[in-house]
């Protein structure tokens, strides 16, 4: 094995509405770049095998497991992390607020991934049935809540967002 560090590649993508440019190693994952280079630690690392969903971020609006998604694959794309969800005036996104209102988390380690998965669902399907919520969210694990409050929070967020659309 060579101990020389791999050559760095330049990576540009849109992160939470702003263009970013970082240098990274070709084998680095998106979560490593977000957490270690860009100091955004909202995406959590747990299973590292795409089972738990704690590291979920959105790439072009679709949920990906950032722990196994190569950062290089994000070049030129639009990445949304949990840090990008609050509004400019620091108010919370309705999904975030509904997670608080419905006690849809306890330890909070799954929460950023849960909220982003829920956002991908509601952006695509603004009025999901409970079955659709459960099917969509089945790739996100939570060991604290028993999931039921999370389903309630997503259902409520859909209603709040519908009302806001008028």
């Amino acid at each position: 094995m060579s101990n020389a560090k791999p050559a760095l590649v330049e990576l540009r993508f849109e992160l939470n509405g702003k263009d970013v440019a970082v240098e990274c190693e070709p084998q680095q994952t998106l979560s490593e770049v977000l957490r270690n280079r860009l100091n955004l630690t909202g995406a959590k690392i747990s299973c590292e095998v795409q089972v738990c969903g704690a590291c979920t971020v959105l790439v072009d609006g679709l949920p990906v497991s950032s722990c196994t998604y190569l950062a290089y694959e994000a070049r030129g794309r639009r990445v949304t992390s949990i840090e990008g969800l609050e509004n400019a005036d620091r108010t919370l996104h309705p999904i975030q607020q509904c997670f608080i209102d419905e006690f849809a988390f306890q330890c909070g380690f799954c929460t950023p991934g849960m909220i982003l998965s829920a956002k991908a669902l509601l952006d695509d399907n603004p009025e999901p049935t409970d079955d659709e919520i459960i099917h969509h969210m089945d790739g996100n694990l939570c060991r604290c809540t028993g999931y039921v409050p999370i389903v309630k929070a997503i259902r409520k967020a859909a209603a709040v967002m519908k009302e806001a659309r008028g």
């Binding site: 988390f105 306890q106 604290c144």
Partner: protein, 763 residues
């Protein structure tokens, strides 16, 4: 506290939003995984490939020579450190010394400038092992010819949490034994009207705290500072005191938010290893385990329970006997206490006049077992609540009625010497029966069950706190209780706000820093709301007593002339808020008063347990007889919590615990193939998901204010796990007629049992 009974609550008994809500939904909540210190190095661990082997030699020179590598920590080069830890039994070396006792045990650690460099250097370490015979099952390990895991005789840890001696290291693989006996079981069984007898298995389970074990240590002239995901920082401090031979004042544990615990982060885990790395490397070191490594660090104790239970002609339970073999794996950790608790928890929640329990906790060459939510109770309730249904069937009684007929009554001393029962099980059972439609007709292929449990909970009562009331009317609450997600950072300031009459938002929580926050023994055994809650209540009142004296001083009156009202005092025409009292007393709009409280095993807490943690759970399942797949259709819980300081949080504990109980009942099990963990990752260890949850969930809290906690509160959060595996076995029996006595009830097991029950050939 009789004066509380008629109190109208302003803040308590309300589902105020979580204090940590905004931080957790915005990704800004800080976990140890997110912490970086200046100049920090990273450690990675080399693990044993063998379950039992002597370390013949180790060559770390090539690893040490890799660019970016600072040091390699090894068991034969620990300088003056005392390498053994364990609050119950000091049997656990921080890194393997001379031999390894399970596959996955740390044998060395590389400390390097980054994680990848540390990880890549592991393969340059050469270890020569001499493999030894391994023993994987408890009963096999007790055979006189079995290989011994531990040769030394260990000292009992001063903080082991029970009064009995430890058994470990007495020339066998027996780690701990415990016996409970009253009445005469042999005579009772001889005259019984009906008896059931059987052997039951509760599996090895993995707690899956989503944040795997992580710690950062720094060792310098100030002593040892550790950021850790530990549930019990003060207990960890005690272990490190011995390792470094330092006073506790020089050992500082800091615990920010913890990404799940469920008992798996209680007591000491990787803190000795990471602090030894920091000592060796003379710089801060972070050790972040993966989930696969966490699965090689701690698991729950599995248990094989032979049990028999007898009734008389009136359907009263007259005797229970159990012989239990539990498996602590390679090290004792908290299993000696699990042994004692599981023995005690074989009995409740029934009043049984003749009892004999013999329990054996045994070392094997498997991953060390320790606390996991509901420990002890979950293991034996699989047996106990299965037998209640088996007995009811045998005597032709409805299983719900049979439980009501035999459940311990309020104030009944059903366990000699222990606190009389402080719950209302018959009420809990009725609520659940009503909520799951106990008497309603069932579709074909469906079955229902109801269950209950009572645990001697609350651990050891030793807790202190300080409430600082500031001159602007805000307050700071100093607590050693860890926020694991259970909501202690919300519940405890609710109590301060209730007592002081200050707005909830003005009470700040400062927590879990052993250098700053007063001593709290632990955050586990559902004890925080009861014990710390009571301490917080008393400290708030002590602060107010001081402020009454200050008010008397500034008003020039006697203390007896002052009346305390919500948020301040009155004296004749004068009315002063706490802020005004402090400002006038100090003659400056700043400064504070510090209220204190110390809870010990005395007064209301003189008799153990601190409280009985009781609940009832009921489920309805459907069983697909073609595949053996079990689906939970309905869940009902009744948490017997005395008073819920925050009802939404208390209900969250109940459904969370029930979900984990469902997982263990239906699919969770760590499996060993010969000497290796077979499914040590989340691809192969099956956890509950959204789609596993029942569509009908009814959670209720029973609030009779019968606990010793603040306002009559008791703890919750484990009990609805404990009965769930038996609930599933009983509901599957009700649906199919197949009795399964080994959890989890996987589709394969259910499919085979259905065919066996019908007398069909399985092929």
């Amino acid at each position: 506290m009789s004066d509380d009974k008629n109190r109208d609550f302003e803040v308590v008994n309300r589902s105020v939003p979580r204090r940590d809500g905004r931080a957790k939904v915005s990704g800004r909540a800080l976990y140890v995984s997110d912490v970086k210190l200046a100049g920090m190095a990273y450690a990675k661990v080399l693990r044993s490939p063998y379950a039992h082997a002597r370390i013949v030699s180790m060559d770390t020179s090539k690893a040490e020579a890799q660019p970016g590598v600072y040091n390699v920590l090894r068991g034969d080069d620990l300088g003056g450190l005392n390498p053994y830890f364990g609050h119950a039994v000091k049997d656990h070396p921080l890194v393997a010394i001379d031999k390894v006792r399970y596959a996955g045990e740390p044998v060395a650690a590389v400390i390097a400038e980054d994680e990848l460099t540390a990880y890549e250097a592991l393969e340059f370490i050469h270890v020569e092992y001499e493999e030894l015979p391994a023993v994987m099952e408890p009963q096999e390990a007790l055979d006189p010819s079995a290989p011994l895991l531990h040769q030394r005789q260990f000292e009992a840890g001063a903080l082991r949490g029970f009064e009995g001696e430890v058994t470990a290291g007495r020339g066998t693989n027996l780690c701990q034994e415990h016996h409970v006996k009253w009445g005469d079981v042999d005579e009772a069984f001889a005259k019984a009207a009906a008896v059931v007898e059987g052997e039951y298995y509760f599996p090895m389970a993995y707690a899956y705290a989503m944040e795997p074990y992580v710690a950062i240590a720094e060792v310098n002239d100030q002593g040892v500072t550790i950021y850790s995901s530990a549930q019990h920082p003060f207990m960890v401090r005690h272990d490190l005191k011995t390792i470094f031979d330092m006073p506790v004042s020089q050992i500082r544990l800091i615990v920010p938010f913890v990404g799940g615990g469920y008992g798996s982060k209680s007591y000491t885990k990787i803190e000795p290893l990471v602090s030894a790395c920091a000592w060796k490397a003379r710089r801060p070191v972070k050790l972040q385990l993966s989930v696969e490594e966490a699965m090689l660090t701690t698991r729950g104790d599995d248990a094989l329970t032979w049990m028999r239970t007898a009734v008389d002609a009136d359907g009263k339970i007259i005797a229970r006997q159990a012989n239990i073999y539990m498996n602590t794996g390679a090290y004792a950790e908290n299993s000696p206490l699990v042994c004692e608790k599981s023995s005690n928890r074989c009995v409740g929640p029934y009043a049984i006049p003749n009892v004999r329990i013999d329990n054996h906790m045994v070392y094997t060459n498997t991953v060390p077992a320790s606390s996991f939510r509901g420990f002890g109770c979950a293991q034996v309730t699989m047996a106990g609540e299965s037998q209640i249904d088996e007995l009811a069937a045998k005597i032709g009684m409805d299983p719900y009625e049979f439980r009501v007929h035999n459940a311990a009554r309020p104030k009944q001393e059903f366990f000699p010497g222990m606190r009389p029962f402080d719950g209302t099980l018959t009420e809990d059972l009725k609520i659940v029966a009503d909520n799951i439609g106990w008497k309603d007709p069932l579709p074909s292929g469906h079955g229902r069950s109801i269950g209950c449990s009572a645990s001697d909970a609350g651990a050891y009562p030793l807790t202190s706190t300080a409430v600082r009331v500031h001159a602007d009317g805000s307050a700071s609450l100093m607590i050693g209780s860890t926020e694991l997600g259970q909501g202690s950072h919300t519940v405890l300031p609710q109590i301060v706000a209730e007592e002081l009459g200050v707005p909830f938002d003005l009470v700040r929580v400062v927590s879990s820093d052993t250098a700053i926050t007063p001593y709290d023994r632990s955050t586990g055994a559902s004890r925080t709301t009861t014990l710390m809650g009571r301490a917080v209540q008393e400290a708030s009142r002590e602060a107010m007593e001081q402020m009454v004296r200050m008010a008397a001083d500034v008003l020039g009156v006697k203390e007896s002339e002052i009346e305390t009202v919500r948020g301040g005092i009155t004296c004749g025409e004068a009315r002063l808020t706490w802020s005004e009292v402090l400002t006038r007393y100090y003659r400056l709009p700043d400064g504070e008063v510090i209220g204190r409280a110390y809870i010990r095993k005395d007064g209301d807490f003189a008799q153990l347990p601190v409280f009985w943690e009781a609940a009832s759970t009921g489920i309805e399942v459907s069983v697909d007889e073609e595949t053996g797949k079990v689906t939970m259709e309905k869940l009902g819980t009744a948490g017997d919590v005395g008073l819920a300081i925050n009802p939404a949080l208390a209900e969250g504990q109940d459904i969370g615990a029930a979900t984990t109980g469902m997982g263990i009942g239906m699919f969770e099990e760590l499996e060993f193939d010969r000497n290796q963990l077979l499914n040590g990752n989340l691809l192969e260890y099956r956890l509950p998901r959204f789609s596993d949850m029942p569509r009908t969930v009814k959670l209720e809290l029973v609030q009779n204010r019968d606990g010793v906690g603040p306002y009559g509160a008791k703890g919750g959060g484990e009990a609805s796990l404990n009965s769930l595996p038996a609930n599933i076995a009983n509901a599957v029996y009700a649906a199919t007629g197949a009795r399964i006595r080994r959890a989890p009830l996987t589709p394969e097991k259910v499919w085979r049992a259905i065919r066996a029950a019908r007398g069909e050939n399985e092929s």
